[in-house]
């Protein structure tokens, strides 16, 4: 596939096509992604429980303060 093939995909917009690059950027967030993928099974939480408390404490300095949030599992 060469550059000439790419040009087939890059057509100029017609008058009724609006550039909506800002729209998706504004609405897509980590929470959206998590909600899309969340399975509501216990599998993910089980994985969380497996992390030893000692390891969590040791890793804390490497992550942002919000990452290892106080929680109950």
């Amino acid at each position: 596939m060469r550059l000439t093939d790419i040009e087939k995909y890059i057509s100029k917009p017609t008058s009724d096509q609006n550039l909506k690059q800002g729209t998706r950027e504004v609405h897509l967030t980590t929470k959206d992604l998590v909600n899309q993928m969340k399975n509501n099974s216990q599998f993910a939480m089980e994985k969380l429980k497996e992390l030893p408390e000692k390891v969590r404490e040791e890793l804390k300095p490497f992550f942002t303060t919000t990452f290892f949030k106080e929680r109950s599992v």
Binding site: Y9, I10, P13, Q17, L33, S41, K47, L48, L51, F67
Partner: protein, 253 residues
Amino acid sequence: MEKKIVLLKDLDQAQFPVVDILKSDSEERLGCATTAMVNWIMKLGLFNKDEFSNISELALYYENLFETKDSGVEPQVCFSVVDNYINQNKKDLETLIFRADSVKYETILKLLLNDFVGFVCSQTKDTGHCDIIFYENGKVYFNAFEVETEEDLVELVFSYPMNMICFGRSLKTHKRFAMKASEMGSMVFSLSEKDKSYLTEKEQFMLTQNMVEVFCKYPTHDVQGLIQEKEFLLKNLNYLDKDIAIIYPQPRS
């Protein structure tokens, strides 16, 4: 991190990862698997100019490969494309491949901390999703979005037991060299038979030879010093035992 929407023709000027790749000035976009693949390759610094004259070509090549008759993404199908890429780039790429039910959350954190970029092929409620996960400047990102809590991270990675995760790191930036276990000092680790099965053939060979394989970004560093600094990594990485250590030291600042 800046969340960029980029036109296909502008990919060469883009800062990766990008959130979406639009084919033109309309809203038509390339698939999540293609976007993830382009992001993964670019984050790893493995774009091959001999293979593709620009990044747009790379994107369209993978768009064709990922295209399926049914809409949506299946983790196993996407992963076969990733697997082919890995096999074709073995000399430039070190990889660790897991299915979600066979990997510990702890291992994911350790790999993220050590410059590995993850390619995650996930099931979702409806179809599936592909994206990259990585660690940068103290924060974990999924796509270009900061993952703020570990609950969100486990939901993203472990949404379904059959999710496929491939962690890759460029061998162009992380040199490998080996040293004898006796040069490692007196640290002792345990490694179960199951853990050993996760090692690559080469690593298993090293184990039998009583050798330690050290992965170091800057091999000229004082390895002993780095080992001491990263002792917690060694203690908690379940891959390790008294004969072998797989170390992922960070460069000193």
